[in-house]
Structure formats: structure tokens, C-alpha cells
Symmetry: C2
Subunit: 197 residues, 2 copies
Amino acid sequence: MPPTSETLTAERILEATEEVLRRHGPAKATVVDVARALGVSHGSVYRHFRTKAALREAVTKRWLDRTSGQLSGIVAADRVPEDRLRDWLAALFAAKRRKAGEDPELFATYMVLTDENGTAVGEHITDLETQLTRIIQAGVEAGDFAATDPEASARAVFQATGRFHDPCYAREWEEPGTEADFAAVVDLLVQGLRRAQ
Amino acid sequence: MPPTSETLTAERILEATEEVLRRHGPAKATVVDVARALGVSHGSVYRHFRTKAALREAVTKRWLDRTSGQLSGIVAADRVPEDRLRDWLAALFAAKRRKAGEDPELFATYMVLTDENGTAVGEHITDLETQLTRIIQAGVEAGDFAATDPEASARAVFQATGRFHDPCYAREWEEPGTEADFAAVVDLLVQGLRRAQ
DNA sequence: CAGCTGACAGATATTGAAATCTGTCAGCTG
DNA sequence: CAGCTGACAGATTTCAATATCTGTCAGCTG
């Protein structure tokens, strides 16, 4: 199988790894498979990624960063903070749900990584909480929200909506009533953030 | 091994099963083991429980019901609804955390059952949501809470606090900062329930 | 005869040998 | 000589044979 004869770059390896993961799933996706897909020896892959875990983590990071990137657009949007918050949470839920449905194998890899406590997932969560903090901060400045500690509030909102973005709930996202449950939780949280009166 | 020579009852089987589960864990706890612990043949166990899954579910149900029973005392307590709500959520968190720590094997069984989608876990959740509904209903009647649909609000509160009672988060319950996170989420939810002004 | 036993068939789990994979590195190649 | 290869040791996974378990039931027993 003659591969693209360009030089072997980390990016090309990540591309191929994502494809192999998508095809074979996390359990049955070896470094040898990735090398074979690229038409190189597996030793060459180890030149760019120290371990298999590092490779898997890099793939997941890239994948998670795409979600973060999409969401950051909402943070910067020109809307009332409350609407930005609602949009952001809805977009997060939609993105996770779509990924779980469309790329089940990659999603499974993500779940493996969550268990492994790799830094990529932790950083992704920190990133999302930072985005949320900005929205809440904007709401406080606009006088709409009453949070004394926007960062803590952001963390609370993120954790309270876990049922709608945490992979461990993925199975339940397609059940009927989920939309209503999501709306109820978001309404309750938004109400809690609002300045009294 | 001469067993207690009383007649074999469902209760005695449950007792023995719980002990076997505690000792061996859910993966390595067979019906044969349970029968051996009771000094009877495994056929006798099947006289009381149609399948192994039914036995496991009955054990878990008994175990879950103990928690529900403790919490129901708080629902009926003579306190302001908001305090009852806070106490109830704190007690739920404390109970789950204690069980995860003290009876890890039984807790693992509970998690297996959650995956299996048995009715026991569903009923337990329904039970807890009903208790929450009563507290919120009391808060609405006292004019403290503004919920238009106490049942939906109860469900939202329950789901929003999932991080602090859902078994899939058990590992994180002992990490530093968890208490503060819990307090932040509860504060936000209580604030959201309060009557405006 | 109500309740229990133990043998049985089919399903599931365990085990150990063989195959594959991970990660390293000396040496080849362009 | 920078980058790649491929052989290698030890770790992990696969696979098939074996053992154990689940669920049933005819018959034993008190």
C-alpha cells in the first residue's frame, strides 16, 4: 500500500490514528496498525510519540479541541449573557451527543482516556470551565447575574449539567424526556444565577 | 459446615448473598457459593429466586432501601423546607460516599446493576425523586419556593446533583475540593428554587 | 407432599500456550 | 547524519481446551 510519500509528521500520524480508531475501536487499534496504515515501520511512529498512551491522548486532545473551538464562538457572541449561557450549554450537549452517536469508537476512546486520568481530559474540562466563567463574568458585569465568585459558579454550572455532557451518561442521551430534563436543569441554574429581584 | 438449621427463607438467602458479595465481589460471587455458605444445594436457592440476576437485584434493592429509609426521616422532619432540602441532599451524598468507601464490593454490585438497567435502581431513583418532590412541594406551600411543577423541579435537582450521588462519580468523591463543589451546586440550586424577591 | 437434592445440558469463565504488541536500539539508507 | 528500519525482550492479548456455573427437573426424604 504506497502511502503519501510526504515526510512523516505528527499530524499525519494523528490523522491515520484517528482513522484506525474509528475503524477498529480503542481496544483493537494498535501502533502497528497505525504504522501499517501509513506504510511505515512502527518504530517511526515511536519517533513522534513516546508511547501508545501518548498517541491516544494526542488524538483525543485534537478531537476535544475541535469541540472547545466551536463553543468559544458562542462565548464571544454578541448576545445577552443569559442567552449565551443557554446557547453554550445547549451546544455542549448537542456536540457531545452528536459525537457519541456519529463516532462511537472515538467516543469510546475518549471514555477510556477519562478513566486513565490523562491530562487531556482534565485540560479540556478546565478549558470549558474557563469559557463558562467568561460568560458568567459578563453576566455579572451586565448586572444580570449575582455571582460573587464567577469561577466557582461556572464550576457549579458545569458539574450540575454533567448529566448532559459527561460521557458516562451517553447511553441515556437518546432516551425520550432527555430534552425536557435538560431544559429543566438549565432553567433552574439560570434562575439561580440571576440577580435577586 | 452445619448451617443454622432453621428453614431456608428468602431473607436468610439474602443475608448470605450479601455476605458472599461483600467477601468475593460481584464478578466472583456465584449461586453455588451462596448455597455453600448456607449449607444447602444451589437448587434450593433457585426455589426462592428464579435467576441469579433476580437474587442480585433483591440484594441490591434491600441495600438501597436502607438508604431510602434513612432519608425519608429527613423529609418528615420539622424544619424549614430549604433546610430539609439541604439536609436531604447532604445526607444522600454522605450515605452514598460512605457505602462506596465501606462496602466497595457491594457498591460494585450496585454499579453492575445500574448498567444492567434492572428495575431496582430505577425504583430507587423514583423513590428518591418522590421524596425530593415532597420537600419542594412543602417549600412551595410555605411560599419559600417558586416551582410551578414540583415534580419536574425535584427531577432537575436530583439530576443536577448527580455528581454527588451517582455511582459513576464514586472515584472522585474523596478528592479535595469535593465538599466545596457540593456546597456550590446546592447553593445554586436552592437559589434557583427560591421565590423571586 | 412440601421442600430439598444432585445429576444434567447448555452457557460462561478460567487457564495456559501461542501469537501479537509495545517500546528500544543498533545499524542501514538517501 | 537525520530519519527510518526491523529484530528483539518483555508485556499483553488471543484462542481453544478445560472447568465451573446457571437453571431445570425427576426423584428422594422427613
